[in-house]
C-alpha cells in the first residue's frame, strides 16, 4: 500500500467517525473530534510559528545579532525585542501573582486593533457603501436600472432607520423602519440560502471523497 492509499483510508475512516454523530454521540466520534482538536491546535501553532514568529521576530533578531557580531553595530532590528517582551508578558497570565502584567500586551493588541479597524471600517464599510448608495433614481431609457437604484436607495435608507433606536419606531418613522426590516429579512434569507448551499457543497465533497477517492464506486 502506498502512502497515498493509506492517507485516503485514514481520511475516510475519520470522515465516517465524524458522520457517526448523526446516529448518536459515540466513542468513534469522540475520538475523531479529539483528534481534530489536537491536530488543529498543532496546525495553527506550526503555521503561526513559521509565518509570523520566525519572519517577524527570529529573522529580525538574527539580522541584528549578525550585524553586532560582524560589524559591532547595533542596528534598528533590535526594536523587535519590544514585541517579544510584550509576548512574554502575555505568557505571564499563567503566573497568578504577576498575571496582571499580561494586560499590557492585551492593551497593545486592543489599541492596535482599535486604531486599524477605525480607519478600515470607516473607509470600506462606511464611506464606500454610502458612495455606492448615492445613485440617480431615474436613469433615462432604462426602467430596470431606475427601479434597481430606487430599491437600493430606499432599502439602505430604511434599513438604517431600523437601526436607529434613539427615536421610537412609531408613525412614518415606524413605517420606514418596517420597510427596512423587509430588506433585512431578504438579506438574511439570502445569507441563510448561501450558508446552506456551502454546507451542502461540503457534504457533496465528502460524499465524493468516500465514493470516488476511497471506494472507487464513482469514476
Amino acid at each position: 500500500m502506498s502512502g497515498d492509499i493509506i492517507g485516503i483510508w485514514i481520511g475516510a475512516i475519520l470522515t465516517l467517525g465524524i458522520f457517526s454523530f448523526l446516529y448518536k454521540d459515540n466513542p468513534f466520534y469522540k475520538f475523531s473530534e479529539a483528534l481534530f482538536v489536537g491536530i488543529s491546535a498543532g496546525y495553527w501553532f506550526v503555521v503561526t510559528f513559521w509565518q509570523y514568529f520566525v519572519p517577524k521576530f527570529w529573522d529580525n533578531l538574527s539580522l541584528s545579532f549578525h550585524e553586532l557580531v560582524a560589524n559591532g553595530r547595533i542596528d534598528y532590528h533590535w526594536i523587535y525585542l519590544v514585541g517579544g517582551f510584550f509576548g512574554v508578558l502575555m505568557l505571564l497570565r499563567l503566573v497568578p501573582k504577576i498575571g496582571w502584567l499580561s494586560r499590557w500586551s492585551l492593551a497593545f493588541i486592543v489599541g492596535t486593533t482599535a486604531g486599524l479597524q477605525f480607519t478600515r471600517y470607516l473607509e470600506s464599510n462606511g464611506i464606500r457603501q454610502v458612495v455606492g448608495t448615492i445613485k440617480p433614481l431615474v436613469v433615462g431609457g432604462n426602467l430596470g436600472t431606475s427601479i434597481g437604484n430606487i430599491i437600493i436607495v430606499v432599502g439602505t435608507f430604511t434599513g438604517l432607520i431600523y437601526f436607529f433606536f434613539s427615536k421610537e419606531h412609531k408613525g412614518a418613522f415606524g413605517g420606514a423602519a418596517r420597510v427596512g426590516v423587509w430588506f433585512l429579512m431578504i438579506n438574511f434569507g439570502a445569507m441563510f440560502g448561501y450558508t446552506v448551499m456551502s454546507r451542502m457543497s461540503l457534504l457533496i465533497g465528502r460524499m465524493d471523497y468516500l465514493f470516488s477517492d476511497w471506494l472507487k464506486l464513482i469514476k
Partner: protein, 213 residues
C-alpha cells in the same frame, strides 16, 4: 500601574495607528506596530496551547470522565507540531510532498470539511422546525432563501427553463438589488458601531479589558 499603563498604551498605539493612516511618513511606525502585534499574537497562540495541554493534562491526571480523549488531543497536537517544526523543511512546511502536507491533506482537511459538512444536516433540520411563514417578514426571509437556493442549482434551471431561467434570473435580481440594499444597511451600521467602539476604547471610556487576571 495595573490600570493606568494599559490605558495609556492603548491610547498611544490606537491614536498612532489612526494618524499613520493619514500621514504616510508614519507608515513605518504603523508597520512596526503591526509586526509587534503579530509577534504578541504568536505568543498568545502559545498561551492557548499551554492552556489546552493543562486542561487535558489535568483531566488525564485525575482520570476524569473521557480522559482517554484528552490523550488523543495531546498526541494529535504533538504529532502535528513535531512534524511541522522538525521534519517538513522549515518555512516550506506547506509544500506538497512534506510530511506536514500529508497530515494536512489526509487528517486535518477531511476532519475539518466533515465537521462543517455535518452542519448541513443540522441546518436542514433546524430550518424545517424554525421556518414558518407566520408573518410578512418571515415569509420574505423564507422566499428569498428558497429562490436563492433553487435558482442556483441545476434543478432550478430545469424547472424554469421554459420561462427563460426565471428562477436563476430572480435569484440574480434578489442578490443585485434588495439583498445589496439590506447588506449595505448592515455594513454601514457595523461601520458606525466599530468606529464608536474603537473611539471608546482609545479614549479609555471602554476599559473592561483591564479587569481580571
Amino acid at each position: 500601574m495595573r490600570r493606568e499603563v494599559p490605558l495609556v498604551l492603548t491610547a498611544i498605539v490606537g491614536i498612532t495607528m489612526i494618524i499613520a493612516h493619514f500621514l504616510p511618513p508614519l507608515n513605518s511606525l504603523k508597520d512596526l506596530f503591526e509586526d509587534w502585534f503579530f509577534i504578541i499574537a504568536a505568543f498568545a497562540i502559545i498561551l492557548g496551547i499551554l492552556n489546552l495541554i493543562l486542561v487535558n493534562g489535568n483531566n488525564i491526571y485525575r482520570k476524569q470522565k473521557g480522559w482517554p480523549f484528552g490523550v488523543v488531543v495531546i498526541l494529535g497536537f504533538l504529532i502535528m507540531t513535531i512534524i511541522g517544526l522538525g521534519f517538513s523543511g522549515g518555512k516550506s512546511f506547506q509544500d506538497p510532498g512534506t510530511p506536514f502536507y500529508y497530515l494536512y491533506t489526509n487528517v486535518y482537511s477531511p476532519l475539518s470539511a466533515t465537521m462543517f459538512a455535518l452542519l448541513a444536516f443540522f441546518v436542514a433540520s433546524a430550518s424545517y422546525r424554525a421556518f414558518r411563514a407566520r408573518n410578512i417578514e418571515a415569509t420574505m426571509l423564507l422566499l428569498a432563501a428558497f429562490i436563492l437556493m433553487i435558482g442556483r442549482v441545476p434543478i432550478g434551471y430545469w424547472f424554469s427553463d421554459w420561462l427563460g431561467d426565471a428562477l436563476g434570473k430572480t435569484a440574480d435580481w434578489i442578490m443585485d438589488f434588495p439583498q445589496t440594499a439590506g447588506q449595505r444597511a448592515i455594513m454601514i451600521g457595523i461601520a458606525l458601531g466599530v468606529v464608536s467602539s474603537a473611539l471608546r476604547v482609545i479614549l479609555g471610556l471602554e476599559r473592561t479589558y483591564t479587569s481580571g487576571e
